[in-house]
Point group: C2
DNA sequence: CCGCATCCTGGGGGATACTG
DNA sequence: CAGTATCCCCCAGGATGCGG
């Protein structure tokens, strides 16, 4: 996809298999990005992730990890010890994704105060 | 927030007013990014946006525009003509956000095929 | 033309209990 | 330890109709 001129951008947003829609729909859920960033420092185990990501239920952790695995962002390895140990790690694709999300995250960090100020200003004006 | 060592990153994800959670929750919905990118070429009117963004209802367009306005990403201007004309444009903050999302979008564009291939591979293996 | 109000449904996602 | 299976609630968001 070109994305080189105005027309392309407009079509870009409309297309059904538009990458924005597809990837953002996957990544933009409640937990995906949090899990991704919890794995940037290296592999981690199921229950460790669960305790590190505040508020996630095991149901959603399992489900989101499956989705991330399906999209090729995360690898799942079972170590047949007793008790069983399962490790999750970022794939190269997952690392690339996380890296490209990092720009957004650091922007959000930098401008978080601006955003909250804008919200307060808006809410105050509407009483 | 530092984000300079491992400990910070882990806390980062857990904090309640964590910028990732806050901004992604706002931006990661079904329509926000699509609207943002529909405005990068310049201001646009309500119904023009509606027709350019495939599948959006006027209810969700209104609501998402309000949220974007509240966060200071979009400016709303009413021209008291007959019939009324309302123009939406990116603020400087909104332009900054859109620009920082662009890295993710272009990554998604580049690797869209890889993701779809991973999905097919995963689905095939699980029958 | 631009939206708000209302109604209604699907599925995201929490809580809990049970297996290998 | 790492899930799977159920139940259930809530609300994102579509459809429709009205008002300035």
């Amino acid at each position: 996809m070109a994305m080189s001129n105005q027309t392309d951008k407009r079509v870009f947003v409309q297309s059904d298999d538009c990458p924005i829609r597809d990837v953002v729909a996957q990544i933009g859920d409640k937990w995906s990005i949090l899990i991704l960033f919890s794995l940037v420092d290296g592999p981690d185990r199921f229950n460790s992730l669960k305790s590190r990501i505040e508020g996630i239920s095991q149901r959603m952790l399992t489900q989101t990890l499956r989705d991330l695995e399906r999209d090729g962002f995360v690898n799942r390895t079972v170590y047949p010890e007793v008790p069983v140990k399962v490790e999750y790690k970022l794939t190269e694709l997952g690392k690339g994704l996380t890296k490209s999300v990092w720009g957004l995250v650091s922007w959000a960090d930098t401008h978080h105060d601006d955003i909250r100020a804008a919200r307060q200003h808006y809410d105050a004006r509407k009483q």
